[in-house]
């Protein structure tokens, strides 16, 4: 038996440029032993992997991919904070991944880490590709000049991974001599004052603090002001000194590489450039893109339906089982009708989230995703969106949740926020059952030039969604203010085959984040909704229950289910949510809705498709609520008790569809928006504005058609 005290735990931070194979190495080393959490105050995910080598336990911190340690996004701020041990323990070692084909560029980041004085090692990845390109690295010379141990790897083919393990086991990390003299870029007295205030041992840490201070949201205000005052007093110009530092760094790097790398000119056909002739072609490029998007849309829409049905049936079965096997009572009801369906409502989104992120991982890993940005940027810009907004918006047609999660790739905060705010207007799959029932009720099933009117109706609803998404973005473009300039400066990486392990891990991790983070909010709201729908003012509910028992005694057993349905409807009417439905009736009357529809609007807040189930209960439609035809036939016969007119006439039906197209009725989306914006301001604003517009649009629609 080993005891915990015999284990030695070390922390290693792993950092590198984007597309350098960092995640490949991280995944090879840790496999599924990863934990995803949050850095406080930012949206960057904190990924830590665990591995054990002999007696040693290693916590591997996967820092976001970055080209340098300059404050441009939260990713860099996090790298800076972790490497300097700000707000958390400083890692024992740093492992910097370099690209063998791009040593000059990756050493920009590599030597910055060197100057921070943390014990470190370099991993030179993609050595095979470099050899093919005629780049010969004289490892020993490079090691001598940098003073840092080097490991050569080809992570895609699992080569050199053992050497990294070995390196960590023996702790062959070294604290290198700094490449640059920090005092050349900032006054010595200033640097020393910063070192004293923050307890740094190294002048480059102080230089980084001066540079990052302004951008670090988590830094105490007093520190921020102090840094600002000091910079001013010493005439320290951050931007100017950064450029000087970079230029000086590149000069040194060039002289090192001149002595340690040989280049042989190899004439080879460039596969990437030939592929780009198709993928970036002004005509074919868009055709290919459209084809790929159709495939993804089809997958999220149709293929995910199968596992989603299974989950649906499974959780319904579980609720049934609980009823049969647990003693009746409030706790059983809560479990079977509140908690289990609540969890089911979270789990049901996993197939769509996993699939979308699987496809995105493939597109990103192959290098295609950056091409989409290239193609679509010009079309998105007039609406205040970025080329990178395309993927979130399109996935919003299946489900807004993975779409909003995918918006994280947009670096400009205004463009990202606009994308997050308008994505829920794309017509998601939860609206479909609502549309299908209402279209069936209000649009005649006749053909026009061989096209069904009902299909045209559905298409119109989808187009309405797209139109308002773009208009909404356009409006936000003028409303939201930002000092940040929008720019596009991105690498189009070479085309590669996807790494399936990375794809699967992405699918797994994204689903996990959703379940753990958004799941909490969704579950609690489901329970609240259940309580509101199952309880009412004391006495009233009891009376209905007693009345039901008496009626049941006098009815033949064959009719019991009809009685049960009737009283389920009566109970819902008497419940708190029923009372709320009646209370809002005056407000929704102008839209053509009665209090019964009002109840459905309220319960739809859990998720739009709940409309169907609630309507079925409130109109006491028994049997299989999944059978849309039964519901439709029943609803078609419903008339207003006072006027005798049909409840679901054209005006009410259209008005309802418009309301569902625009209103924010999905708490899962709100939970994700909160997670991605780190503030309740945006989800609340989204609910108020979207629902307000829905109200207005439904009102206009009802007035036109009635």
């Amino acid at each position: 038996m080993e005891t915990a005290t015999a284990l030695q735990t070390k922390t290693v931070a792993i950092i590198g440029n984007p597309n350098v194979g960092k995640s490949s190495i991280f995944n090879q080393l840790t496999g599924l032993n990863q934990k995803i959490g949050n850095y406080p105050g930012v949206t960057v995910d904190k990924t830590v992997g665990f591995l054990r080598i002999g007696e040693k336990e290693i916590n591997l911190i996967d820092l976001p991919g970055t080209y340098s340690l300059y404050p441009k996004s939260e990713d860099e701020v996090i790298a800076h904070r972790v490497l300097n041990g700000l707000g958390q323990e400083k890692p024992d070692f740093a492992l910097v991944i370099l690209d063998a084909c791009n040593l000059e560029r990756s050493l920009l980041l590599g030597t910055q880490v060197m100057d921070l004085g943390i014990p470190m090692a370099f991993v030179v990845n993609m050595k095979d590709l470099a050899l093919k390109k005629g780049i010969q690295i004289k490892t020993f010379d490079l090691y001598k000049m940098l003073g840092v141990p080097l490991v050569l790897t080809d992570a895609r083919n699992n080569e050199g991974i053992d050497a990294i393990r070995q390196l960590m086991a023996t702790e062959k990390f070294e604290s290198p001599k700094p490449l640059l003299d920090s005092y050349a870029f900032a006054d010595k007295a200033l640097v020393e004052e910063v070192m004293v205030r923050f307890g740094f041992k190294n002048p480059y840490q102080a230089f980084q603090m001066l540079v990052f201070g302004e951008f670090d949201k988590t830094l105490p205000l007093a520190d921020k002001q102090w840094l600002e005052e000091k910079s001013l007093a010493f005439g320290f110009d951050r931007k100017r000194q950064q450029v000087r530092e970079t230029e000086a760094r590149y000069v040194k790097i060039a002289s090192i590489l001149k002595k340690s790398v040989d280049r042989v000119k190899i004439e080879s056909s460039n596969v990437t450039i030939s592929l780009d002739n198709v993928f970036l072609n002004p005509v074919f490029g868009f055709v290919v893109f459209l084809g790929i998007m159709l495939l993804i849309f089809q997958a999220i829409f149709a293929w995910a339906a199968f596992p989603m049905d299974l989950i649906d049936v499974g959780f319904a079965g579980l609720s049934g089982w609980i009823y049969e096997n647990l003693p009746p009572g409030v706790l059983t009801d809560l479990l079977a009708e509140g908690i289990v369906p609540g969890i089911g409502g979270v789990v049901i989104f996993i197939p769509q989230i996993a699939m979308l992120f699987g496809f995105l991982a493939i597109l990103e890993d192959t290098g295609y995703l950056s091409r989409v940005v290239f193609l679509m940027d010009r079309l998105m810009r007039p609406f205040g969106l970025h080329g990178k907004s395309v993927v979130p918006l399109i996935s919003g047609m299946a489900c807004a949740i993975p779409g909003i999660m995918a918006a994280r790739n947009i670096s400009n905060s205004k463009e990202r926020l606009i994308t997050i705010l308008v994505t829920p207007w794309m017509s998601c799959s939860a609206r479909l059952p609502v549309y299908i029932i209402l279209i069936g009720l209000t649009i005649p099933d006749t053909l026009w030039m061989g096209i069904s009117f009902q299909a045209l109706g559905l298409l119109a609803m989808y187009l309405l969604g797209v139109l308002f998404t773009l208009l909404g973005a356009l409006a936000l473009k003028f409303i939201l203010k930002t000092k940040e300039k929008s720019y596009l400066l991105t690498e189009l990486p070479i085309y590669r085959l996807p790494r399936w392990k990375t794809v699967l891990l992405t699918m797994f991790n994204k689903s996990k984040i959703f379940v753990l983070e958004a799941g909490k909010v969704i579950l609690s709201i489901s329970i609240v909704l259940w309580v509101l729908a199952s309880y009412g003012p004391s006495g009233k509910m009891q009376a209905i229950e007693e009345e039901k028992t008496t009626v049941l005694q006098t009815t033949p057993e064959a009719d019991w289910s009809t009685v049960e349905e009737l009283y389920a409807s009566k109970k819902l009417e008497a419940s708190f949510i029923g009372i709320m439905g009646k209370a809002i009736e005056p407000a929704i009357r102008p839209l053509g809705y009665d209090w019964k529809i009002g109840i459905a609007l309220l319960t739809s807040f859990a998720a739009r498709e709940v409309f169907v189930g609630t309507i079925a209960t409130i109109y006491s439609i028994g049997g299989d609520v999944e059978n849309e035809l039964t519901i439709r036939e029943k609803l078609a016969k419903e008339v207003h008790s006072d006027t005798g007119e049909k409840v679901f006439d054209k005006a009410t039906g259209f008005s309802l569809m418009v309301f569902y197209a625009f209103a924010m009725q999905c708490m899962s989306t709100l939970a994700v928006v909160y997670r991605e914006t780190k503030s309740w301001k945006w989800p609340i604003l989204q609910t108020v504005v979207m629902t307000g517009i829905a109200y207005l649009a439904a009102f206009i629609t009802y007035q036109i058609f009635s």
């Binding site: 080209y67 970079t246 590149y250 450039i273 780009d276 189009l492």
Partner: protein, 72 residues
């Protein structure tokens, strides 16, 4: 002349990067004075441009491309 004025497949040497808020972004991607730059592709309707710089393909909008001054 700036990189925005290159025609397709035309190469030139970078002379300087215009000073701006994002000059550091050019430098860190390896867009440095003295390097060869070649225009590979242009997205339609005045969209982004794709440049080849030392085997790396970098996409920029025109507003960024005009910040790269070329040697004539």
């Amino acid at each position: 002349m700036t990189a925005a004025q290159l025609s397709l497949q035309q190469s030139a040497t970078i002379e300087s990067i215009q000073e701006s808020d994002i000059s550091i972004n050019f430098l860190e991607l390896g867009i440095l004075p003295g390097k060869e730059i070649k225009l590979l592709k242009k997205a339609p309707f005045g969209g982004p441009m794709a440049f080849l710089i030392e085997e790396n393909i970098i996409a920029l909008r025109q507003q960024e491309a005009i910040m790269i001054n070329l040697k004539s």
